[in-house]
Symmetry: D2
Subunit: 383 residues, 4 copies
């Protein structure tokens, strides 16, 4: 039997219609239906993140990391870059920038926390940075940063504000225009709910101006190579730089159609409800959440165990037809696991997942209150 709940951080349980939309035997990168699907994805992205007028979105074959690295092509040799890191994926920015001749500085929070706004404010007032990067939801811990406040606070002091929205776009409120963000990026397999295989970026007119072939960056991930194709696709005309993941883009286009049908606001509310239910369940059974209060996200919940080994939990819970995500923050190694709840997740998944965790943890001898997790979920869902 293949029925299973994939409560992972992406790919996660995918809507069947999204998958079936990618079953195309004879569509190529010049086919009319593909060009239309690409156009739909590009326009939808701009709508979902509330992009400023004349923004341009791009689809980069690869993954979220590919989209992150493509931002290097907005920079020049010796540019100063400030990375605000709340965890593993914040640090990934530093790893990327370190491969290029840039001056990178990193402010890093403790796990489950965020870098305080004041610390950053001080920093940017003293130094002019060409680029600052934030992580909206830090996938390694489930911590959400209040991008609105942070972006506004630094807006006057840095040239390009980049936000990694990998675990946020589609599941969290994003207001690129209102918050003054220049680049908002994500990946196909997260809260947009398609299979993995593409990074997606939306770039403000201000940042678009900066893109040119003289900048840093390699070839494949260079935005200056992709920009003409993406502009062309937005006008419903095919183009070619390197082959796009045609079938994935059909799936993404279907996801966008379903997102529009659900409504972005309603979708975020659904994520918010499911996240609250899951946190309620976790605390109901007597466990602690990694993210500090006020920093909870709609999409990822890190859960600290008392005695049980999270690796054993992940193995054991498969017999309950549930798959969870391992913890990856080095500072919490062996102490926690993650529940991904994004994309097409429902309240039904929340109660089923909490139920399965309760039962499995009890079998593993963890000190929890069996039944009180699901009871708490039910109270939140039924409120």
């Amino acid at each position: 039997m293949t029925r299973k709940l994939l409560m992972h951080v992406g790919p996660t349980t995918i809507d069947l219609d999204v998958l079936l939309a990618g079953v195309k035997e004879s569509s190529g990168f010049t086919s009319e239906d593909f060009v239309y699907a690409s156009k739909n994805v590009l326009y939808s992205m701009e709508e979902i993140v509330k992009a400023p007028p004349n923004s341009q979105s791009l689809i980069i074959p690869g993954s979220g990391t590919a989209a992150m690295e493509s931002c290097v092509s907005l920079l020049n040799k010796d540019d100063k870059v400030l990375v605000i890191s709340n965890g593993v994926f914040g640090n990934r920015w530093t790893s990327i920038f370190s491969r290029y001749p840039l001056k990178v500085e990193t402010l890093e929070s403790r796990p489950g926390e965020v870098v305080p706004l004041e610390e950053i404010a001080q920093k940017v007032e003293k130094n002019r940075y060409k680029m600052i990067t934030f992580t909206h939801v830090e996938t390694s811990t489930g911590v959400r940063l209040n991008i609105g406040d942070y972006a506004k606070a630094v807006r006057d002091f840095v040239d390009i504000i980049v936000v990694d929205g990998v675990s946020s776009i589609g599941g969290e409120l994003v207001d690129m225009s209102g918050w003054g963000v220049d680049v908002y990026l994500t990946a196909s397999q997260k809260a947009l709910g398609a299979p993995p295989g593409a990074g997606l970026l939306v770039i403000s007119p201000r940042a678009l101006e900066v893109i040119n072939h003289e900048n840093l960056g390699g070839y494949f991930l260079n935005l200056s190579n992709w920009l003409p194709v993406m502009k062309s696709l937005k006008e419903n005309v095919g183009g070619y730089f390197s082959t796009l993941p045609v079938h994935l883009i059909f799936s993404l286009s279907k996801a966008m159609e379903l997102i529009r049908h659900e409504g972005v606001e309603k979708r975020i509310k659904r994520h918010e409800l499911v996240a609250r239910a899951i946190r309620g369940g976790v605390e109901g059974m007597g466990l602690e959440i990694v993210a500090k209060k006020g920093l909870y996200s709609n999409t990822v919940t890190g859960v600290l165990l008392k005695k049980a080994d999270p690796v054993r939990l992940l193995e054991e819970i498969q017999s309950e037809n549930v798959e969870l995500a391992p913890g990856v923050h080095p500072a919490l190694k062996g102490k926690y696991f993650r529940i991904g709840h994004m994309g097409w997740v429902t309240p039904n998944d929340a109660i089923a997942t909490i139920g399965a965790i309760e039962r499995t943890l009890r079998r593993l001898g963890e000190d929890i209150r069996i039944g009180e997790g699901v009871m708490a979920v039910q109270e939140i869902l039924g409120a």
Copy 2:
């Protein structure tokens, strides 16, 4: 979003691999892969019901009712037939037989109950019946008959024992050989977990002998027309009487593969566990089950409401991404609904369904104990 739990009485939530197995662009009724799939279905059926040696199974395009009516071709003009009816689908036998020149008698139970064994024993000892029909699980109420005892009690007094296993085969223990049953039939969309579109029968050697073209019955549903094709398919050779539902049979063949992989006994245990969990949930929230104690089935649960209108429940619960089945027994009209739990159903579905019923019924003002249903489910699943 199309993610939904179909807790209906068939079709019910179907495993994706079963569906995908039916996506065949170029397979026809003479294609090698189709002949092989048919053969697999026929042999698997005999294994699942524990058929006596030299039995023959048949696939009849149509539905469970078609399979029921095909049994008419085992009879001759003026034959005496005894129908044991525990509800709507028991009565269906009477409706079918009444279309033919037969002498039909019907013993009917009250809803939620079964016809007592003694009543039947008395009857068959007095009259020689050519055929007696039982319903293993009465889909209209969820009542299960102890076929083993009933079949053995009448075995010496009737020629052909037919059991409607529509809501049982694949989810309940069936021992055709041990119980001395001559015909066990079902439909593709029930506990076997494939789409609807076919009735399936397994016929004992004794009953096979009776089949001939002089018997009653029309043309399309006449077993004598289908028998040569089915014998041929069991020997991996194609045949034709009327076009079989090729794509459905590919799905059924995949279902059989998954059933074999799970193991029939383990599959029945899974059904039994989920059924207990659902009943626990129903009683936990303070509602009553239609079937009397001791008559519960693994596949269908009828639930009596106190004040709420079941029609409203069925409408409202759709917003929770759950679909339930309406009550259909005329004697309980407007008083109950049904939960189907068969095929690929999991404990996750049980807790999610009970959770959704609790929340919806509370919104509808039903007098239930919110949270205690899911708590009870959790206790049963975690035991």
Copy 3:
């Protein structure tokens, strides 16, 4: 590799979108999307056959034969029925009617020919028949009857005119209203291009009046049992008599959508072009067609071989990724094979099929002109 051309008489090569439309995990017979799909199929059928106002179409689980037998429920004991048979499927009417207390007479043509109009005219002028049945395209030989002329000729002399449109509807011009036909029926897997599993009927208001529970006929195939459900579905309200093939109906609904998008007239023209190309190819390579000139159909072509064994051809041509249909007319046993060309067939299939037949027959030593078949196809397609 699974790429293959299924040039069979049904199922035939199916459009992928039609198949994918049936991949539904959680749609049941009360689900909203299913009710809508059913409604779409019912209305589309009436449009495709140009049904008179207030007609009613029906979906009968099973096959074309099931739809044929359901017409018995329009008859009463001892009614006189005239069967006009041009081959195996014409004779099937006689086999069906013979199972019921009816007075059946059959006029039968030689293979490849049709019963002359005069012969029938004489017959119906002499006797009043309650029902006459015609076969629009006789699948066993590919012969097409001019239903317009035949129906008009008998209209005043018989009560109910039934046409088996199994190999015609969707590929041949049908004008039920203009021709005065009472029942036009087909099956899902033929020129409508969906998987097998359902018979479809459109019934005129005059014939609808006749339907009642006192008529002949069994239970499952009795139109009086299905009529209330089908009327309800046309009004977008679910109903139940026996479980419909839910997933197949989603596929059929998609087929109807594609048919409407293509346009019925354009679709018939495509069938006509492909059929001409295939006949051109057959004659170009020097072989003879079973149907006499003037009796060719758009959907099935029977081909007579000179020396080669058709069974060997069918086996051998599989290595060319083409599957053909065997001959089934007893009078031509061992002498011919059939090419099905209906549903989603294209000119590309025509040339590929003729090419594969040429190459295979040459390998088998048949006396043909290699290359001239495809050349002839090309001339017709490029004209």
Copy 4:
């Protein structure tokens, strides 16, 4: 109707089972079935290219260009690199290397031709190059290089021999071990016949030794980041660097299964036959092929037109349900188009495509001999 032949250079017409294998609702990058599929792809790649023992294959999310750029991580600052370019995709190597601090030299052929072996031999004997790159089949013109001879000739003079096998692996003979090649790379959507979205590399033990974090290259396309994950997957243990295209890898794994079932040699022969048939058809109708005699490939054929505009041909032929690829070599702009024939292509596709080209070109007034193309195809296929 969605039935169409995609005779493009990738993606091309894809086998349905390959597509369906990617329809997975609940498989993530830690799921057991995914880890197994990845392992299968990695081992199969090494088998298909006949890799030397202890080679390591890698899957790089993105495309063929991504795989090409990942080779930069085998190089160090100021390394000398020699690019052998026979067209657009040969030049792509130069474009890639130019983004890094390398000393790049390029030898470029005329379109339809290849750089002569002697020219290269002279070059490498004079200078020590760290890396030389060849293109096995130049997708822009369809020209095939005799890699065996070229690789052997330079083997003693360069450190790392890289071959772009994008349009060859799966459709042309590849003998990495016998020819002494260090890196053979391709993309998922070419002759392997899966959807686009991944580059694939096989790296010899010698080249593996060179990979380390001190080399050139960015982050995402850096082989040193992917190597640990790929080693782990070969041992059936999951790993993470950046999310892999999970669903695509399931499709690739299915493609590998089908390739193994067909047999690599038989697969190459099929490609060779179809390619010959297509070239026969092109020349039969009186048109010229871009690649010079002796340089034909099994996978791509460039066709020169006399008067007709290739853009118009590509538009018009869509009405024949065929899609072709545009010409992209700047030196032949407006003069040619391409036919892709790889992956799951069959002789049926060859004759259908040539037939459609003939008919369309005649409508466009091109000077061709109608019917002689298909006749020539038929002669080759039937030989």
